[in-house]
Symmetry: D4
Subunit: 253 residues, 8 copies
């Protein structure tokens, strides 16, 4: 039952075609889920223009196309992540000019209706060139969700000055996503330089005792500087989504 | 050298008592740190009324008192965390009426000057009674940092309705801290119900395969619902600090 | 809102004191939780005589007494687990003759109303004397939840014949809880001898590479014999609860 | 020695061709194994119509065919799991029309004699499309073992209402298998909604800190809601087998 | 049923008081365990003079005394391991002059009948003074099981010459137990110097990244020199038992 | 310097062409290694007919051939392990009829001179067909090192009777190698049935929480039955080598 | 701003075209980073002839070529590590005769200007042939950074005499890099023989419980002999870099 | 045999009282160990004034006193580490004025003969007050081994300027020991600022996901800046010893 269904049931009570007990029984049999569903939909309604997300890993190109077409047909924009080169090209070709394919990020965006007006500012800082795919995923997703993004690349040990050189701009951001593999020390460093919350993304870049990102993850969780919270290894999407929530905090639920 | 020192050096150049090379030499010998220090101090200056934090674990009561008195003497408010019952009472007695001791949270607050005006809203939700110390640490810290806090307790498996019952209030918050041990499933659940960012705090509550909070930590990092970022196990302070950054995002660096 | 509240709202529509939109608004604001709450309560109603569980670890004796008294005052029986010797004696003394204290199991039972009629049969098999506390927790809990229990002790490497000697009885059980530490091999062995499902409980008994029960846990998850499912390390309560669900399966939700 | 052999030996004593000591010596030399074998065979005899299981991983197609043919020749039905697309097609083609190949589940069933009459009800709930292979393995195996199955798919964070929508049906099941990767929170949620035992299957779906299913496994072992027991990661077969034992509990050993 | 019971049953068949079917039924109902039990007892009979082992950890002093007295009453010698200072003294005092208490090893031996004649030679080599308790447990147990022991102590990095100085004696041993914590490198070294099998015992001696013996355990499992097999961390008893089996190999089962 | 070199040096002293100090200087500069080398060679001299081992993993086919030819040219027999199908065939073809290739074991043996007379008996027991490569590596290596081998296959949960059926033969062995993956429970079981030492080999067979053999490894280290020592995961070679040392213990160093 | 920029600003103050406040403002806006950058560059200036390092893993051949050409164009020598066979050949062909390709090490060196004069001595010792790539990476890098290298290969369990045979040479080194996989025991052994610091490199060589180099890493961190410090698994580059710092220690910062 | 013994043997050959074969036999029977011992002793002879180290953990006060007295009686200075307050005071009182007790470091030094002349410079940098015990252990040990030490304390996230303020002094050091817990990021930072090798010491300071120093250890092993090598968690002694080797590198073996 959606909101209209409940209204019709109540209307039935009002006009006398349904008794309160009949409606009660109906609600009691399937009450939580359907009203819950309504709530979720209502919740989503305010996100007009915000794309639905398809997690592309473990799906075939045609499967992604099918889901994307179904969503677009409902007037819903689409964001597909974790597509490799071949899958991304396949989906872009299938969906046509509506679709934009970001190969480094592995993300495809297909809009139905205008993009949301970008607001605020999310900084996206990455440590090395190998971290680029994760950082680009974060950037593309953050932009698709309606945020301005300030992108700062290649902030390695010999490149801290690249953060510092743009510190003024960075300090204007409401939230900073910091992407780093290996020792994962960068987010703690950035959190000591800005007042905005830092969303840290460990990456699986590294070898040996990096244990596929575990070392970077632990470093970030133990960051001496407060103001760092952490998402899953390689989860550029999740960081961007969280940063978007922070950047748009206060827009109402 | 602080800002005034640099100005004096430059003034020396202007009036001819110092050559540019002498000043250059002076800056080159110790440039980064002192200006950096200045920057940090400047950075801190805007945080008037915000307390300095003393991490009490591994310090004796008298050590905490000494540090606190030094800070208070500089006009700085003080927040001391991770104090056990005995240490907290000792410090409160030593500092006198200025100090407020929160025994469940293990936190002591001593103000110099008026508290900052609380702004916005941070939700602090906890799963079970055993998680209370961590959640209370988060609450007390968040309030001390100048935030309104909405505290919701005991949201266990049989108590999801307590979140739901206050969902409207919770949805008015700009950020929600969710504290949970054992399976750590609560933050993902809450993130599916609100639009605000969720800062998740795993606790070491549990036994056996909870591995002192590791299970909860992993659950939160893998939360199916986006909008969750995570701090260290039992780190109520860090969650509150991060939530405060989010809640006050946009106040400028 | 509980069921009666909803009926009143609907009645209001029927008699015209409320419009459908007003009721819709009311339901939309807090629908999920309250009906959910109702559902949960209804769910619990059928469990008359089944005690509520208090997890005693991390609670003081007086806290346990307070919760127990509140539950008893509502006519609810009480089962408190993970009480040490001192806490158990304290609670028993405070609650009086209604309370039965099981020191090996660390469990206290206080009934309000008659115990449920025991049904079926749950086997509880343990490997060594050190596993007794966990196995006894399982036994006491299973009996308190209304199940017949067949208890077989000390089935170590030199004692497989104790299982075999009572194989006929064991095969009459509808479910067997098997408790073992160290190498945790017993549940797989038992699962090869009986047709009933085996609920395996690894214990933290052992040293060195037992890693506080991790070795036994992994053994059980990898049991070559199918028919084994596993609960948390030392979780005698959880095994008994699950075994009770299995033993009473088919009684209706 | 099988049962008949022992009878012959005893008959020999009765008629005087063997002395008790000779028989005793014979039994003492190989007593455990052969009577044990007899016991196992007798045990299996009651499972007429229940297929033997071939674990296909690490076996070649021809090896699976050979084992299957040998079993079928003995009048035994066959269930082969963990076959990839190529192996499954090969085995199906080799065995002919008797064999049914389930490609998503990776399971092949070949019957000799009529299937067992399905009884009771096993719910099989899965979280995401990536979990489908494991859930389908559970479904196909459960059906092959003679159980009715209620299959509920795609119960992600945005899909809890799919469980709720069919809660009445689900509550009619005697046991529910819940399959989930990533945060593995679904089984705990379901266990809070039904009274039947939940057999939880963590899957290796996820990335980064999911550690190939470890995160989901730990979540399930620490589930706050009692009534959950766990099988190995990706072990759809084991969950179905255990659920079948539970569903058919009480049929006698 | 023991051997005599079976003989009586067979005799019953012989004289006609029992039918073969009656005996068959009797054996079928409880065949495995009892004959198995018989087998085990027979197996043990040849070990006359070899003590029964009581694992003392997790048992109280009086409990150990009770078990020891029961065994002694049956004419069985007793070996109790993992007793701390207080427990060991208590048990020794309770058992009287028959008992010998080895405080460094934490082992108590109480004999009934003469000790077995020591045979062969087991080398017991330990790396540092902190490893002494484990090595002494191995020595005392090995001697109690009837083996000659060659004990070499304090073979640290500066003490390899102590092994080398007694290499000729060591090479006369049939098996060498090597006990080491920290880097656990000693067993691999010894295995390169002797032709006898090396049973390696990692100890929990160390700190930090020794992870309570895990580092030493892994080193030993990966020993470059073949001829090393490993027992559990701190398991001096198990190493001695295994070494005794090796030293006495060929005495017949 | 080898033995002859030292003799020449000493002869030089005797005849007066070298002073004691010159010889001392020579020995002091490189004393340990060369005499050590001599010792090792002497040590090896007694192992006439015992092959040298080439670890084939990570070496190319031609590399293995080169090393093998060099050893054979020195009159040394060769045992090459961890060769895959292609490498094994390549090496066999290159070495000619002297070489025997064991494809399941991945082992190639090439003899120079007669094989050692096999002695004693090593039991090699394996749990499932997937464990065959490791068990066969153990068998081939044990035979190549001059031991009789009793091979027992496929002792799964439904196949314990295969061990029991040959228990008498097994009890005649001086040492038993037991190979098992998944839950790794078999070695503990066997150790309870025989008096010979058991060398346990965990295999990486399994999935999910077997963690590539870690579960089996831990089970074996925690085996309740004493008399089990463990080698590295999948290390059939190491188990055979250790078993050979045990089987031949007492032949002198 | 570099040093010259600051001098120009100060000169502006001296001549009166800039006020002290204007310069202060300029420095305050971007002070840390640029002076920091200057400092780093100055720091690097003394390293004339020392190549810049390109980490080749995760970069395509053309990407490496582009970066290398850019560096060479600036007069900077280039060291590219972690190139596989194909990438290395591609880069060498693209850069022409200036480039030297070391296939075992996976390292390419391209010089601009003369190589630094080699100084001191770095020993590079490796355990087995499988460790050669890591050890060769260390050797090539150490030589490219201007150090004499003493390379000792194949120091396995049967080859300790190769270290000992060259102990005098080795003792002349100022630092020794020791590369070892499997049990990782070699560095501790070497540290006991020389007075120079040992930089230990664990390698991922091994299988099973070597856990991709974790076992060797732990062994080295727990080495009983002091004088060992450790770099990441397989990090031949890092060991060489650190050894170069040690070998050249005292040349000034 | 020591050097003199060998000389006597050779002299015997020279004068004809011993044949070359007799000496050869003598050397062959026990050659490795004794000359090895000689070598080690000779090696140690050059370390006059350098104290012997007693690892105090796990030893009683009287045991430490006994060992210390024995060493002092041989004219050997003594360094005892890991003594707690009570043990340290006990040993100091027992040894008298020769002994100096460093309570923060937990180290006691007792000299026989003059201290070695301090040389070079070792920087010892620590991150927080909780890291002081480990850093002080490093400082006291480094000084006792004859090195100048530059100690810089409390370099937390808000204290990087303390390093920078003394960067010129630090750059004069030949090696820098950096001690840090929690995220362990400091060593990588320092390695980017100085040209000297950095010896990193992770500490067990922290909580939750610091896993008793594991997080800091991994961070340091993965440090993005080259020039960092790592010792065991909390191993201040080992870092000082290694730094001393580096600082004194080139003094000859």
């Amino acid at each position: 039952v959606d909101r209209d269904d409940v209204r019709k049931l109540l209307e039935g009570v009002r006009v006398g075609t349904l008794t309160p007990d009949e409606v009660l029984e109906h609600l009691a049999r399937a009450p939580v889920e359907e009203l819950g569903h309504t709530a979720l939909d209502a919740h989503r309604a305010v996100r007009a223009g915000v794309p639905e997300v398809i997690y592309g890993a473990g799906k075939t190109g045609p499967q992604v196309v099918d889901i994307a077409r179904a969503l677009l047909a409902r007037g819903q924009s689409v964001l597909a992540t974790r597509l490799d080169e071949a899958k991304g090209a396949f989906v872009r070709d299938a969906l046509g000019p509506e679709a934009t394919w970001h190969p480094v990020a592995g993300v495809l965006v297909a809009r139905r209706g205008p993009a949301p007006n970008p607001v605020g500012c999310i900084g996206v800082v990455s440590a090395g060139t190998s971290d680029a795919p994760v950082a680009e995923e974060a950037r593309v997703v953050a932009e698709a969700l309606g945020n301005h993004v300030l992108r700062i690349e290649d902030v390695g040990i010999a490149g801290v000055h690249r953060v510092l050189a743009r510190l003024a701009d960075l300090r204007a951001c409401r939230v900073v996503v910091v992407v780093a593999g290996m020792d994962g020390a960068l987010p703690g460093l950035v959190a000591g330089l800005v007042r905005a919350p830092v969303v840290a993304v460990p990456t699986s870049v590294g070898y040996g005792a990096s244990f596929q990102g575990l070392a970077a993850l632990l470093t970030m969780l133990n960051a001496c500087a407060p103001g760092v919270s952490v998402v899953n290894i390689d989860n550029g999407f999740g960081a961007a989504y969280q940063a978007s929530r922070i950047n748009r905090a206060g827009e109402g639920a």
